[in-house]
């Protein structure tokens, strides 16, 4: 096999795919060379994941489609396993490891090395460790997957691909739950694999990453290819224009209104081992950002405000009154909303319809004689479907069938429909395309201006700096700084999130 740098490892031509009610792909095409990183861009629902799933044998393209040529031969993989065996490895948007098995078992799942009738554990663990070491990863082969952070699980998926002899590696939004540091080590791995001649397809909504890592950019829009660029020859605006058909002017609109009276105040909230002495407050018409590394305790603090966790000590004041929030129902009664970080686990009921998901939290408030008010539900769904530009064939579509970004929009719609006075958004733009991201930022500013108090958690520095009126930094479960106005600088915040126990603000 000649791994010549200028040869194509993969060519897909004129790929079509129709789902009931949706034309996901029409005439998509893609070319990938050995040792090349191809970025795949497009709005939510543009068909990126679908194109990759067709390649990986998850489902077949429509009959009237062109060819897929892999390593010089036309192929059509019927199952993901076939594709895997041939060397096409996909790391999904939603990870797919078996949580209760060890790393090694996961990597060789389905092809465990045998010694006679028994699994050859020694070979298994040694080969795995070698593969992991080569990637420069600190993971041990015998570790159980569920005990590891997402970044490591992802590394395991990549290692699995390499152990299987990958020629093409597909990464579908790999950095959406990684910290900066983890991202850098992922990029190191990508560069290593690239130098070994593996072709990599990289799907992401983060433009800076695309410009950092890719050699070429392929843009899809409504399932059609609208751009095919050499990365070094283009600008961000070129990509955005071919993605959404126009350029964006203001990514980060700020709430300009003057903050009103206090909505929430937290005093010395403590949950041992997770966060300590957390005090902060937020007012009407204010966007307050919480910035910190993944795992700093931001999510847990918000879960406490929302009644999911019980604090060991500390008080919560809502509109100046001391309140006890023992469940999310209490939180809802206090006009709070919470867009959670993990959308499949805590945000959505994936096998129910969009309509049911949007109205889930609201039912008790709009019931008529205990009955669900279907008309009202539909009205609200339509309102937010338009406002957030959710791309779905209809209210009855199962949420699980929507693209990742549109699922996120459904979660946001669920909470907006409740007209909260205090809205907590935990990583609200994860997996959302640049266009919609700007829309959501605009929406946050508008909400705040209309009198809502908004808390935003984000690990993206530009986002949090761009939209917040005030920012609290958190490190290791403690608030390490508070910044507003001109104090909001990259330097200040970086310093504050790396402060450790000994030196924190009084």
């Amino acid at each position: 096999m000649s791994d010549n740098k200028n040869e194509y490892v993969l060519k897909m031509e004129n790929i079509n795919k129709t789902f009931p009610g949706v034309k996901a792909l029409s005439g998509a095409r893609l070319e990938l060379k050995y040792g090349e990183v191809l970025a795949l861009c497009g709005e939510n629902g543009a068909g990126k994941s679908t194109l990759m799933q067709i390649l990986a044998g998850v489902f077949p393209p429509d009959k009237e489609s062109g060819e897929i040529v892999y390593q010089g031969k036309p192929v059509q993989f019927k199952t993901p396993n076939e594709a895997k065996k041939a060397g096409i490895i996909m790391v999904y948007q939603e990870l797919s490891l078996v949580k209760d098995l060890s790393v090694a078992e996961n990597i060789f799942l389905g092809s465990l090395p045998m010694k006679g009738k028994h699994v050859d554990w020694k070979t298994l663990n040694q080969t795995t460790q070698k593969a992991l070491d080569e990637l420069g990863s600190p993971i041990r082969a015998q570790q159980i997957v569920s005990s590891m952070p997402i970044a490591y699980q992802q590394m395991v998926e990549i290692a699995r691909g390499i152990a299987l002899g990958a020629k093409v590696l597909i990464l579908d939004e790999p950095t959406s739950s990684l910290t900066e540091k983890e991202k850098n080590s992922l990029f190191k791995i990508i560069r290593l694999l690239k130098s070994r001649g593996i072709g990599i397809i990289y799907i992401s909504h983060k433009m800076d990453e695309i410009f950092e890592i890719s050699d070429r950019v392929l843009v899809l829009r409504d399932g059609q290819p609208t751009g095919n660029f050499v990365t070094s020859e283009i600008t961000l605006d070129d990509v955005i224009k071919s993605m959404i058909g126009r350029t964006l002017d203001n990514y980060y609109p700020k709430c300009q209104a003057k903050a009103g009276k206090e909505v929430l105040r937290v005093e010395k909230l403590t949950l041992s081992g997770i966060y300590k002495d957390v005090s902060f407050s937020i007012r009407e018409r204010e966007v307050v950002g919480f910035y910190g590394l993944v795992g700093a305790g931001r999510t847990e603090i918000m879960e406490t405000l929302f009644g999911i966790r019980k604090p060991d000590s500390g008080d919560i004041y809502i509109n100046g009154e001391k309140s006890r929030i023992a469940s999310s129902l209490d939180a809802l009664k206090n006009n709070m909303g919470f867009v959670t970080e993990n959308r499949r686990g805590q945000g959505l009921v994936v096998d129910k319809s969009c309509l049911e998901n949007v109205s889930l939290a609201m039912l008790p408030w709009i019931k008529k004689y205990g009955m669900v008010d279907n008309k009202k539900c539909l009205e609200l769904y339509n309102e937010y479907h338009d406002k957030l530009r959710i791309s779905s064939p209809g209210p009855e579509q199962r949420v699980g069938f929507l693209s990742g970004g549109n699922q996120q929009k459904v979660v946001i719609a669920k909470w907006l429909a409740l007209n909260p006075k205090l809205l907590i958004l935990d990583e609200p733009t994860r997996g959302i395309d640049v266009g919609s991201k700007a829309e959501i930022h605009k929406l946050i500013a508008q909400l705040a201006e209309s009198g809502v108090a908004v808390i935003v958690i984000s690990s993206e520095m530009p986002e949090i700096m761009g939209i917040s009126n005030r920012i609290y930094t958190i490190a290791q479960g403690q608030i390490t700084g508070e910044f507003s106005g001109l104090e909001i600088t990259e330097e200040n915040m970086m310093r504050a999130i790396t402060i450790t126990d000994s030196r924190k603000e009084a």
């Binding site: 999310s328 009921v349 129910k352 889930l360 939290a361 039912l363 019931k367 669900v372």
Partner: protein, 318 residues
């Protein structure tokens, strides 16, 4: 083209009804005494108890649990019911029986919902407890109904050709079906069964929802027991023995997802009818009594197998 598609979807949704019709026709061909008016009425009277019990069980299974205690609960309720009708008269007796059912459901529901114990184990334990209580209450004796009253009409009487028990069953089914499809509570049960975690973050008290499904299962078992006691005009320790098996078989045949999250009360009823027709048919064509148990186990396995296939197919689309 669209019309054909729609037709296809409709048929796929109604496959259980078709299956029932086919079984009915099959038995009619096998035995001339099967498709008789009297036999049909017999089946209707037999299915009344199961039809009612299936309603509660459907909710429990949609919530992602099982209630194995309903059979013993029927025994206990029958014994209590007949005993109290003899002493207090029908109305107070029936109210107390409903309360017994609700309390039993409350206990299982609390253990499963709030303490997060496995429902199989909890209700298996409840099953023994209830059996023991039945024996204590009845002293191990057969209790005949001593006073003649309107109570016997519930299970034995009819309005026109329709047995009263059938009418009661239909009312219960309609109430449960409406509750599941249209009320906030029903939507909550469906959502909790699919993803309790999301519900917990969305202002839904998932523990309480689970508890309520068990309470309703207990109450529906109590109603079933009243119909049964009235029909038989007497009560015995083992009246409800094995009922949980029949009821769960019917619910599964009706297409309720064993993992929770979806199900339909009307289809459960069709499932119950299938079980009843099969049982009756086996007798009519002269199969020995105990071989029915084997046959029924076979049906259960086929039903679960079909359900699994359906789930797998769904997985493929995703």
């Amino acid at each position: 083209m669209r019309a054909i598609n729609k037709m296809g979807v409709f048929l796929k949704n109604q496959v259980i009804v078709l299956a029932m019709c086919m079984i009915f026709i099959l038995f009619s061909l096998l035995s001339s005494s099967f498709c008789q008016f009297n036999n049909a009425m017999l089946i209707l009277r037999q299915v009344a108890t199961f039809g009612v019990m299936g309603c509660g069980m459907t909710l429990v299974i949609i919530g992602g649990n099982f209630d194995l205690s309903v059979g013993s609960l029927v025994s206990l309720c029958c014994v209590v019911c007949v005993g109290l009708v003899n002493v207090l008269g029908p109305l107070p007796a029936m109210l107390i029986v409903l309360a017994v059912g609700a309390v039993s459901g409350l206990v299982s529901g609390f253990l499963v919902g709030y303490l997060k114990l496995n429902s199989m184990i909890v209700t298996l334990g409840m099953m023994s407890v209830l059996q023991a209580l039945t024996l204590i209450v009845s002293n191990g004796k057969y209790i005949p109904l001593r006073r003649v009253s309107w109570f016997t009409a519930l299970g034995q009487g009819s309005i026109g050709v329709l047995p009263i028990s059938t009418i009661i069953m239909v009312v219960v089914i309609v109430v449960f079906a409406t509750a599941l499809k249209r009320t906030v509570f029903g939507h909550h049960v469906l959502a909790v069964g699919s993803n309790a975690e999301t519900c917990r973050y969305s202002g839904i008290n998932d523990k309480r929802v689970i508890l309520e499904t068990f309470v309703l299962s207990g109450i529906s078992a109590a109603i079933g027991a009243i119909l049964l006691a009235s029909r038989d005009g007497a009560a015995q320790n083992n009246m409800g023995m094995g009922f949980e098996f029949d009821v769960i078989t019917g619910v599964i045949l009706g297409g309720t997802n064993l993992m929770g999250g979806s199900g339909n009360v009307y289809k459960t009823f069709v499932g119950m009818l299938i079980v009843a027709i099969l049982k009756n048919g086996f007798v009519v064509i002269g199969l020995p009594y105990y071989s029915q148990w084997i046959a029924q186990c076979f049906i259960m396995i086929v039903a679960v197998w079909c359900a699994n296939r359906a789930i797998q197919r769904k997985g493929e689309i995703e």
